[in-house]
Symmetry: C2
Subunit: 189 residues, 2 copies
């Protein structure tokens, strides 16, 4: 059987799966639950995906591709190293908020991927992190910070990824302000 990976229907299904995986975890979500939420029978699921594992892969991949897109858009508009760092933080927050389900799944369901899938997604993640390496290096060359670059990158990404646990955009802190605070913390301003 041949599957169309770009079909509109499939994208809808991936979004629904992202929500269930996000709320209950991959292993606790059965194909019957997925099918119910999608309004089809469990057997029909396998018309769109070869197996359950492929759904998880699709969820995480879609979130990552979207993240990289937004990141490139924002980076293209930023010029100074500090602006570019802010752009990265802002893009990261955007994807965590707009695409929250997929990103929570990406953060918390790594382990459920089989090795080949994981390897392929690690490549995507590395490509994303390359932007962070690059921009932090620019900040160093501009004399904005000193010290261990990879430590600074890990601290920033850790603080950002943790926002899924507490940050709600409807609160008193806007995403822009939050990104600004993060940049200030990295640059020790």
């Amino acid at each position: 059987m041949k599957l169309n990976k770009n079909s509109k229907r499939r994208k809808e299904l991936v979004a629904i799966a992202a929500q269930l995986f996000c709320n209950q975890g991959y292993e606790s979500t059965t194909v019957r639950m997925l099918a119910d939420a999608m309004g089809i029978k469990s057997g029909s699921l396998f018309h769109h995906f070869n197996d359950k594992q492929e759904i998880l892969y699709a969820v995480i991949e879609s979130g990552m591709l979207h993240a990289m897109e937004i990141t490139q858009q924002r980076l293209a508009l930023a010029h100074t190293p500090k602006e570019r760092l802010h752009a990265l933080a802002r893009a990261h927050l955007s994807t965590l908020l707009e695409d929250r389900n997929a990103h929570v799944v990406a953060l918390y369901e790594w382990r459920s991927l089989v090795e080949t899938s994981r390897d392929s997604l690690v490549k995507l993640r590395d490509a994303y992190e390359a932007s962070w390496r690059e921009v932090i290096n620019e900040c160093h060359e501009a004399g904005l910070i000193q010290g261990d670059q990879s430590l600074q990158r890990h601290m920033a990404l850790g603080a950002l990824n943790w926002t899924v646990q507490w940050y709600r955009p409807e609160g008193k802190l806007s995403p822009d302000e939050l990104a600004k605070e993060l940049v200030a913390m990295v640059l020790r301003e």
Copy 2:
């Protein structure tokens, strides 16, 4: 059947379970795998725990109690606000390293807890975080930082918890140095 929650044997079993849960996730670890790793048959497991869920609870609880113990020890030796902040960061790292399995499980298997268990552990976590609130507030009163205290707490905990993804103590950065860097970042030094 009455279970002894403080038995030595049970603590051994909890440590073994922590390792399996950490490596493969709670849902993907079957009671048969647990029993195998423990050197007993799957039926015997239920002589020590009422059900599988109780094992998960015990793993997370043990990690948290240990964390709070170490934190109080280190805090008792620190006096200035900055020293106390360093003590918190250092204690957090210690528990993440010494008790890595339990803490990875705590971070990544929240969702698999039933609500009553989760509620009870949230109370423990809140008690732990109270130390952070307190010390960060001391730093503010001493004039070491300004701004949003809860934001600063979340950033610090996010960066610290993320270390389980990348930090290895055998590398070039000692836990003490890492804690120092984190304090510097929070205090914008």
